[in-house]
Chain length 314, copies 2
Amino acid sequence: MDKYVFGVDIGGTTVKLGFFDVKGNLLDKWEIPTRTEEEGSRILPDIAESIQNKMKEKQISPDRVAGVGAGAPGPVDAVGVVHKAVNLGWGTFSIKETLENILHIPVMAGNDANVAALGEMWKGGGQGSNDLIVVTLGTGVGGGIIINGKVLAGISGAGGEIGHMHVEDEEREVCNCGNRGCLEQFASATGVTRLARRKLAESSKDSVLRQKEISAKTVFDAVKQGDPLAIEIAEEFGKYLGDALAAVATVVNPDTIVLGGGVSKAGEVLIDYIRPHYEKNVFLANRGVKFALATLGNDAGIYGAARLVLDSVL
Amino acid sequence: MDKYVFGVDIGGTTVKLGFFDVKGNLLDKWEIPTRTEEEGSRILPDIAESIQNKMKEKQISPDRVAGVGAGAPGPVDAVGVVHKAVNLGWGTFSIKETLENILHIPVMAGNDANVAALGEMWKGGGQGSNDLIVVTLGTGVGGGIIINGKVLAGISGAGGEIGHMHVEDEEREVCNCGNRGCLEQFASATGVTRLARRKLAESSKDSVLRQKEISAKTVFDAVKQGDPLAIEIAEEFGKYLGDALAAVATVVNPDTIVLGGGVSKAGEVLIDYIRPHYEKNVFLANRGVKFALATLGNDAGIYGAARLVLDSVL
């Protein structure tokens, strides 16, 4: 009898849910609101209820569900314990046990960025690779490192935090994490905007960006039009990100690097600005790594969550 | 009946061999010369012969040997294939198969720095940890990253090459690897000497180092005596190494960092100069990591090689 799996991506405002067969075909997806009130205590029961409703709707009994995987925005260790997820109001407790106690189905949990990386490996831009770095350039910079097909979660679930690698001693503004000079401050959508504002202020050069609202999109659109100032911004962005990825690749020795998140919608041009800096500084064994763009968009989390549980139960 | 295991550490001039019980007690150790002539084709047969002689001497039949582990100075992938080891004259071939064909005993092989890291985890400064970074500050800077008790070997065996992380854009001298500005150029014994020579040349300050032959040892001895110029050198060294370890820890999320190699003989003072830079820049989840000194010295390789094969055959 065919088996199924649920993948859940818990965000600060909505929870995305996916219903998959065990080969990873997405059969259905939907969303529910994330109720963060009461220290987020309703979130997991809401998810469990939504999954039970879907099982009724599809007329699937619990024994035909291989498991439920879940990604959460915080450090989640190898046994499914989350260590504070500020956006959800969560402290420290076992996501795995809490959901299993309601659903009586095997549950696995991980950090959302790590889980999304697994999704891109399985069904997205990293297909065919088992050893890859996935970096998500969104509002922040998230990362996931996958070695031999498994997420590098680390001792407290904080593995792969590429966005918080220190890349700039001279930075004076504080990152969300409390440090100064994190990659996220330069390579996220917000980071590109910051770089652009600074460049526009310090330069008197003409630029199409002076007539526009500044965003990562408008910057890279201007790059594609050949705007010299925008190209300088892209160069700075590429150096920060290329150098950081070179450092990570030098210790991880992957075959693929996948770029995702909103900024990556700029497309291949992004790689053009990252690769030269990467190649210049990376240890020789890692030259010529494959750069790829993420393809799953916002679905990476539910795919990866499904894969997470399939890895452990099948 | 008790079982035994051999650990082999292949260096450019000598091969170290260890005879262990499966609990990791070192029962005997010895060395043979590394015959690098004829493209190093004698090295593995010499090792096999030496192991067979030891088995005769100890009156141990092959069925009482769980396996032979070997570390080699080059990239060795997960299936035991070395991809060029310049110091040995080796090209690309399977260390595992070559030795197994002679010995008819299970063989596992790995990169020497990675294998030494495994040794320090098992019986050295990293005991009690399964998730650690080992950095060996010798003539060069070697590294090994261990996740969940296993070496991060990477796709071509070049994982953990911490010494070749790019840390300095302004460096003009070329590293042995061909790049410029690698950590090894600042944090190895040679690197500390370079930093010292530069500092002595650019400063007119008095220093006990002006009357001495410059080495990592004389520099850190002078630091312990409170020599201000030596302290400036140690600060520079500590910033390069502390920043690099912060970057690695931010993506690996270990619980322990072990410092080994000749430079680490300076002792705890080393950690005093590294830790402040590490703590300043590392992602918050990794603050307060345990720093430890390696304890196995030149035996780390044979211990780790023994562990490598035990991991796979027992």
